[in-house]
């Protein structure tokens, strides 16, 4: 890619200036004339029948313009990407503490707040469903009428029970993972209003404007074409804004009041009410041969779904698919259950089921390496999936497979090569111990078999000879807007400064599917390249006519078309744009669509499986453990990442560093605690995320080039894999330092200390 001008080159973010200077307008900055403020009345109980809702007193309060309950929902009173089981406003039952019962629009936030306290709701509390394992029992109280099992996915290959008997080494453990909050900077919020054309406009940051549009149409009973959703800019998402949140409520209130209605959730309301990473219980039995060959994985995965479906089913399926790690294994039994409880709601979150299983399988690989006396990288290499192999769930790998490459790269890193020297801590402080840990992972790019998976882009020429590309996917921090600009600039031979990007607008940008599943660069990028290739054809034929030369004798130069071998005979894009306006009274516009290639096989009842294209990463963590307090300091980190190619080095590094630190939070400190259905740590003084003082002083990014032919300029997506294996790398490093295994994350100082204490007592 050395002959390229933009792709693969360090490129400053196209949105850097307005974001750094604070001039960009996020949804919470928007103010409209006559705007009302909304507040939501949420359930008082985690599980209860609603006997009566009386909002007459609230409606009578001066300054209150509308109070809505389930009776006011004109369409389907439910939303959900897979199953629309989450009520816009609850009718006869509440299923978690953030469930919505009523909403108010008032002249001020204070009045709206006061109105909430005037709404009388009579409840009859129901028995709680708290423990996902107990929820599976026949006699458990039910969260939904159809029972507590939202989804059961079981995969069986080979003869696992026989293989377990024959294995030389059997590793058997149960693992627990925490309920991670996305902790995006901007809480859920936005403004809804009726435009001059009578259409409903919903400005609320999210990950997929066109799907929001369809879901809103269903709830509000209006033609989707009469709804415009603008979901960019957004202050972070990480999967937490894939599903709807407040949009149906402000939409409903705007329709009801015919005035703009705004809401911005407080941090507490945001944490209590919306999506989290699912906590998992993972029961593993894994068998190896003496020589390290992985022969069998038998695992039961129990997902605490929370109260409503959202993407809990697909998350479970991805966990099942990734349960064995990126390894060859012929005897497989994975039994997965997504179980409803009254523990809040969980949905998509960066990694989508993979971080949970990665913690389990990578800990097991570390245990096996130790017990078999095999180097942990050698053991992983021995079993690593290669091109042409069948994955644990049985699909043949035919795309770019980087398992061995990332392991080879991480093996050459300074951190790994010097790991024995690095183990030496300050000799004056005998209570500090150091260690290095490794973990390997992969992550499917795209939605998998059975779900429509496509990219779309609209490209139009601008009057100045530049171009505007409209893609529905959203840049929520990962930098895809800049990648799209790079792709278009490169393809069009046009300076990047003259490329405009419109993201996340159901009217102005093409439907490119959800911004999730590490697919933003891959799908939207490929669609942009296709649209740009078509644009080149348009420009070529126009230039050919204007210059009276056959197409074959023309070629693209910098911002122009020129006659081959006659560099002085050219027509600039600007002149071409003038010609288009002069002759056709419009500028050319092209569209690009791209269907993501999928695996050949299909897994019954397991939508989204299998994946076909994967990104790979190997993670290292270098830690220091204080044996007196259990505190873990991550001194350094490194990741070797196969994302196909590097589109933008700065963006690549930012993803790796951000992913590593997010994975570190997952591994060491983050867990939303829900007891008796009540959230115990609903703010950032009690829900602990890593601060800059916790971040390692260096996280080495090692890009591994492994071109994926189907991707734009051979790129894949790295957004998730970069965080997935950080937690097990850290817990494996803790073991290297102090010899204790953590089977539960987060490994808080207390958890690490107690593990060491128990070991000392034993």
């Amino acid at each position: 890619m050395n002959n390229m001008k933009y792709v693969g080159k360090e490129t400053p973010r196209i949105d850097a200036l307005p974001k750094a200077t604070g001039t960009i307008k996020y949804m919470s900055d928007l103010v409209f004339p006559e705007m009302l403020y909304a507040r939501i009345l949420r359930s008082k109980y985690p599980h209860a029948k609603i006997l009566k809702i009386d909002s007459s007193k609230a409606k009578a309060l001066p300054g209150v313009v509308a109070v809505v309950t389930h009776e006011d929902v004109p369409g389907v009173n439910g939303f959900g990407i897979v199953v629309p089981d989450m009520p816009v406003l609850c009718k006869d039952k509440v299923r978690y503490i953030g469930d919505t019962v009523a909403a108010v629009a008032a002249e001020s936030e204070e009045i709206a707040e006061r109105a909430l306290s005037l709404i009388d709701v009579e409840y009859e509390p129901l028995p709680l469903v708290e423990d996902p394992e107990k929820a599976l029992l026949e006699n458990s109280p039910k969260v939904h009428e159809n029972g507590n099992i939202h989804l059961h996915t079981e995969i069986k290959r080979g003869d696992p029970s026989e293989a377990l008997k024959k294995a030389d080494l059997l590793v058997e453990h149960t693992f627990y993972t925490g309920r991670q909050e996305h902790a995006f900077l901007e809480t859920e919020g936005g403004v809804a209003f009726i435009g001059a054309d009578g259409n409903l406009n919903v400005y609320a940051g999210s990950q997929y404007p066109q799907r929001d549009q369809l879901q809103l149409a269903r709830c509000l009973s209006i033609n989707p074409r009469k709804i415009r959703v603008v979901s960019y800019p957004v202050g972070g998402a990480f999967g937490g804004k894939d599903e709807l949140t407040i949009q149906p409520i402000i939409g409903l209130l705007a329709l009801k009041t015919k005035r703009p209605v705004k809401i911005t959730l407080s941090r507490e309301e945001s944490i209590i009410s919306y999506w989290k990473r699912h906590p998992y219980i993972l029961k593993y039995k894994v068998g190896f041969k003496k020589d390290g060959t992985l022969v069998v994985v038998d695992a039961t995965l129990i997902e605490d779904k929370g109260a409503y479906s959202s993407l809990g089913g697909p998350v479970l399926n991805l966990a099942v698919e990734h349960a064995c790690g990126p390894y060859r294994v012929d005897n497989v039994h994975i039994d997965g259950y997504a179980v409803f409880t009254n523990n809040g709601v969980a949905g998509a979150c960066r990694g989508f089921g993979a971080p949970q299983t990665s913690f389990a399988i990578e800990t097991i690989f570390d245990i096996a390496a130790e017990k078999l006396g095999i180097d942990p990288i050698a053991l992983r290499k021995k079993n690593a999936l290669r091109n042409g192999d069948l994955t644990p769930i049985g699909n043949k790998l035919t795309t770019s497979i980087g398992t061995i490459k990332v392991l080879e790269s991480i093996e050459k890193s300074a951190l790994w090569k010097n790991r024995n020297k690095l183990k030496l801590a300050d000799p004056k402080k005998q209570w500090l111990k150091r260690g290095v840990g490794i973990a390997l992972t992969y992550q499917g790019t795209g939605l998998g078999v059975g779900l429509p998976d496509y990219g779309g882009a609209i490209l139009s020429m601008d009057e100045d000879g530049g171009f505007t590309v409209g893609v529905g996917t959203v840049d929520y921090g990962q930098g895809i807007g800049t990648s799209y600009a790079q792709f278009v600039a490169e393809t069009m031979h046009c300076p990047i400064e003259k490329i405009k990007v419109i993201l996340g607008d159901s009217l102005l940008s093409a439907d490119s599917g959800p911004t999730s599943a590490s697919r933003g660069v891959y799908t939207g990028g490929k669609a942009s390249v296709i649209a740009a290739s078509k644009m080149k054809e348009e420009l070529l034929s126009k230039a050919s006519r204007v210059m009276s030369l056959p197409c074959e004798s023309l070629e693209f130069g910098n911002e122009c078309l020129l006659e081959k071998n006659k560099p002085n005979h050219y027509i600039s894009f600007k002149s071409l744009a003038d010609k288009f306006i002069e002759e056709e009274n419009k500028l050319p516009m092209t569209e690009g669509y791209f269907l993501v290639p999928t695996a050949e096989i299909k897994i019954e009842k397991a939508e989204g499986l299998p994946h076909h294209i994967f990104a790979f990463s190997a993670h290292l963590a270098y830690v220091e453990v204080n044996t007196l307090t259990g505190e873990v300091r991550v001194i350094e980190g490194a990741e070797a990442v196969d994302g196909g190619v590097v589109v933008n080095r700065q963006g690549y590094e930012a993803q790796v560093e951000g992913g590593f630190v997010m994975g570190m939070g997952y591994g060491l400190m983050e867990d939303l605690i829900i007891k008796n259905g009540i959230v115990k740590n609903p703010n950032f003084s009690t829900y602990i995320i890593p601060s800059i003082k916790d971040a390692p002083y260096n996280i080495e990014t090692i890009p591994v080039v492994n071109p994926e032919d189907t991707g734009p300029f051979c790129a894949k997506g790295i957004a998730e894999t970069v965080m997935v294996a950080t937690a097990p790398a850290i817990t494996n490093a803790i073991h290297d330092a102090v010899g204790v295994r953590l089977f539960k994350i987060p490994a808080t100082p207390e958890a690490v200390y107690m593990a060491m204490k128990r070991k000392a007592i034993d």
Partner: protein, 328 residues
């Protein structure tokens, strides 16, 4: 958040007038770093606020007649940056350095941290260690009490509703009731090395005593930055040489309804020759009997009790390994 009446005092006289008039119904607002969070969560009982942040008389650090005064509106950042504090109250400095984030340290005040009376307030054990005194004033009276006598329970102090905390001070050199005869012999190595640190070494006996002061502040939290103490400990020792001490003040935070002194530990330090890691461990384990922690969202009883011991052990061991010199 409820609506409140908001008073701004421009000077001390103003503040006292409002306080006398509103009495129990008003809450004093200094830096607001904790209060604003509580206000937003509707966790404040009072209906009005008295903002004293502009009362200039209540801010600053100075030395007078052998005492260091840290006025209550002094921010944690000002404390951390003060040469007087660096010299005479290094443990307080270390404690203030660990409070919140730079933004919180820029706004938060020591008086607020003290009057807020959180058992986990980081400056409080440090003030215990420096044996600080507090001055409380109302329109009609003034009183001076030891910092230890100020706290009654979580968020509860002996401050009367019409009183304001107007001064926090401690002696540059002070006799501890537990201190043995102060005429220890000769100079010790510590003093020599400390002399090198200052361009103008003084020969005053008081200053030489200060130069033999050693100690530490330590805390364990749920993360490294912007963290609330799960347990903290402050220790101030006066070294006599030969692993012996003439004075010891040990205090623990977040392990009881208020910050507590570790009297048994102090006595053991003074009574023994602290000459081995084993002895340090033995002494530290006495903390077990001094603390009465609870389970909460940040930690369990067992962990807190163990941490009282282990933080003390870690801190003392670090000093021991460093020839009892304070770690810089």
């Amino acid at each position: 958040m409820k609506e409140l009446e908001y008073f701004v005092a421009s000077d001390l006289h103003d503040a006292f007038s409002v306080l006398t008039y509103k009495n129990e119904t008003i809450r004093v607002f200094a830096g607001g770093t904790d209060l604003v969070v509580r206000l937003k969560q509707d966790m404040v009982r009072e209906d009005s606020l008295l903002d004293i942040s502009r009362v200039k008389e209540l801010s600053g650090i100075y030395e007078s007649e052998g005492f260091i005064h840290v006025l209550p509106l002094t921010t944690h950042t000002e404390i951390v940056e003060s040469d007087l504090i660096k010299r005479y109250a290094p443990i307080l400095r270390d404690a203030c350095l660990t409070i919140g984030s730079p933004q919180i340290r820029n706004k938060g005040t020591i008086g607020g941290n003290v009057a807020n009376a959180s058992p986990a307030g980081d400056s409080i054990p440090a003030l215990f260690a420096h044996e600080a005194m507090l001055k409380l004033e109302s329109v009609s009276r003034k009183r001076v009490i030891s910092v230890e006598d100020f706290f009654v329970g979580p968020g509860k102090t002996t401050r009367k509703p019409d009183e304001l905390l107007t001064d926090i001070f401690f002696s540059k050199f002070k006799n501890n009731p537990l201190e043995k005869s102060a005429d220890y012999k000769g100079l010790n190595p510590l003093e020599k090395s400390a002399d090198l640190l200052f361009s103008n070494p003084r020969s005053l006996s008081g200053d030489s005593r200060r130069l033999n002061d050693t100690g530490f502040f330590k805390k364990v939290g749920q993360r490294k930055g912007t963290t609330i103490s799960v347990v903290n400990v402050a220790v101030n020792l006066r070294y006599m040489g030969d692993n012996r001490f003439s004075k010891a003040v040990v205090s623990f935070g977040a392990v009881a309804p208020t910050v507590v002194r570790g009297r048994l530990v102090e006595k053991a330090i003074i009574d023994s020759e602290v000459d081995s890691p084993e002895k340090i461990l033995y002494i530290s384990r006495l903390a077990f009997r001094e603390v009465s922690p609870i389970d909460d969202i940040r930690g369990t009883l067992e962990y807190r009790r163990d941490m009282s011991i282990n933080l003390l052990y870690e801190g003392l061991l670090e000093l021991f390994n460093n020839g009892w010199r304070r770690l810089q």
